[in-house]
């Protein structure tokens, strides 16, 4: 299939003696939305951090947009510029205003002219509905606003793929919705997304496929409706019964 944008073949990873990823095989095609869930410590975050090589895998192959991830730093930087990522702890740059957070990478990595980068940033901030906060610093914003700013920052690089690493886990309950809304809008716009989350409502609404991970393995991978309606493995059933 030519529209496959991410391909993971027999990926293995160890932290010291501890194996975090075991024979992961995953194919993601363009515009597909995948939700990854599972208990903590199951390797979900490591899995998506491998896709833009914030973590190295030790065995197997990861191919993103036709480029294989390897030691070659030029390739890595190229892939990272194409893959946006949103973190649990937002990780905005506290010494820069929200606008500068959004224009920093476009200006210095993609060499976009400053005025153009700012236009782009304001457009993206508008989409997540915080363009009025552009001049403020991250420390002056609420958690939900910061996370939406982080989404806008990632989008300013015009990525082909967006990775979300538990984007709502560090938020107060009342702020979760505003962030999920921004993500739903993004999904409707046709972005390829891989989302690690415990928000099953979001999964039901947006995801094409749901992956359940445990102990470093993909236990179950099914279409969303199928996944929730009749999960196959007992481990998945147990997890779903606890979380829903």
């Amino acid at each position: 299939m030519s529209d496959q944008i991410i391909e993971m073949l027999d990926v293995n990873k160890w932290f010291g003696d501890f194996q975090v990823l075991k024979n992961i095989n995953l194919k993601v095609s363009q515009k597909q939305k995948i939700v990854v869930c599972g208990p903590s410590g199951s390797g979900k975050s490591t899995l998506i951090r491998c896709i833009n090589r914030l973590e190295e895998h030790q065995k197997g192959k990861i191919i993103v947009d036709g480029i294989e991830l390897s030691e070659n730093t030029k390739n890595i930087e190229k892939i990272r510029a194409e893959v946006g990522m949103v973190f649990q702890q937002f990780n905005l740059f506290p010494h820069l205003s929200i606008l500068d957070n959004c224009t920093l990478a476009p200006i210095w990595v993609k060499k976009t002219p400053k005025t153009q980068a700012e236009e782009m940033a304001l457009k993206q901030l508008e989409k997540v509905q915080i363009s009025d906060q552009a001049k403020k610093f991250p420390g002056q914003l609420s958690g939900g606003q910061q996370q939406r700013a982080a989404i806008a920052r990632a989008l300013c690089m015009e990525p082909k793929i967006m990775l979300f690493d538990e984007p709502t886990s560090a938020l107060d309950p009342e702020m979760i919705k505003e962030v999920l809304d921004a993500m739903v809008n993004l999904a409707k716009g046709g972005m390829t997304m891989i989302v690690v989350t415990h928000e099953m409502g979001f999964a039901k609404e947006v995801a094409d496929e749901v992956i359940f991970m445990d102990e470093g393995m993909i236990v179950e991978k099914a279409e969303t409706k199928e996944f929730f309606a009749n999960p196959k493995s007992d481990r998945t059933k147990l997890f779903l019964s606890q979380i829903l």
Partner: protein, 421 residues
Amino acid sequence: MIKKLYFLGMPTRDKLNLFVSVGTLLFVLGIIDVILNSFFEMNITSFLPRWINYFTPLVFSFVGLHYVRIEFSGIRILDRLNKNINLNWFNAILTSLIIFVLIKNIPPLLNWLFFDADFIGTSKEECSREGACWIFVNVWFKRLIYGLYPNSEIWRINLSFLMLIGLVISAFFVAPKIKKYIIIFLLFIFPFIAMNLISGGNFGLEWVETPAWGGLSLTFIISIFALLFCFPVGMFLALGRRSSAPIVRYSSIGFIEFWRGVPLITVLFMASVMMPMFLPDGVYMDKLVRVIIAITLFEAAYMAEVIRGGLQALPRGQYDAGKSLGMGYWRMHLLVILPQALKLVIPGVANTFLALVKDTPLILVVGLLELVGMIDMAKTNPEWLGFATEGYVFAGVVFWIICYSMSRYSQYLERKYKTDR
């Protein structure tokens, strides 16, 4: 024991006026006792045994402060004083002691410094010797500032420093766009112009050898160059120590630990005595240059550890975010990591800079005479024996002014770059 003090009863709000007036009276009595004792050689309590009357002022003020210690008295000043300097008996004793020590010592000090001091004159015979003899500093002033630099050429040093001050001040007032160029000029071009001007040897300027340089101007020259160089060197060492490449990491660790483990005085000796032996034949490096290099490397090792502290304090998420936006090592560090880390370590950097400035007098041991060195020379001049105190007080004041302004500037920077909350 304290209960026995209540012969007037517990200090309460009911008898506020009584207690406040009696307390104030006792406190003032204690202070008057000290003043009479130290300046008029009178002792109003001399009828008491000596071992008691030595402590009477303290007892007076202690009891006095005890009586005025009334909570919510309704008098704002009293409440404030009670809260800040008279919270409990220990606090009261400390307060009284500090006041007494100040009363005893400040006036004599001021007398020595100013009122009994001699300022104008040309020889030590004009000094009354009752207070400080500032004539010493006055007569030697030119030497203390310019060292042994020839009098006819002093305008060159003045011009360099005036240019420096002018440029720095103008940098504060011009638009940011021009400011950038002024700073680049200051950092990369001006040092060469100034050095050329001061050392001479071309453009018709007389060549002045570095041993003739000295005094406060030399303090500034060495400090400024060492500060300029030690910061970037320290930054690279800090990054090197955290590098994942073993060669870079271990050579940085080795460098830092070597320089941190050696006393500066040894380093200076090495720079002046041993380094020429390692230089290839025919290569001559001026002693001043060698000393500046030595001080730079020495302080860079400290700077590296200070900056590393800042790097260590940043959460890993900042690195993740930088990387995930496609930034490489240098872009990530220059745009994301270092601006935050350096902001965190402004106090530590200021600390190292202050230490550097105050370390410069050590170059005395290799025969370069900056301010303190010149004072050393002046005080051993047969004409001017016995004025070491004045000289060192002068040096102390000058260094204090330099260091205090640097410290204030660093605090200003801290506030300026504070963006969180």
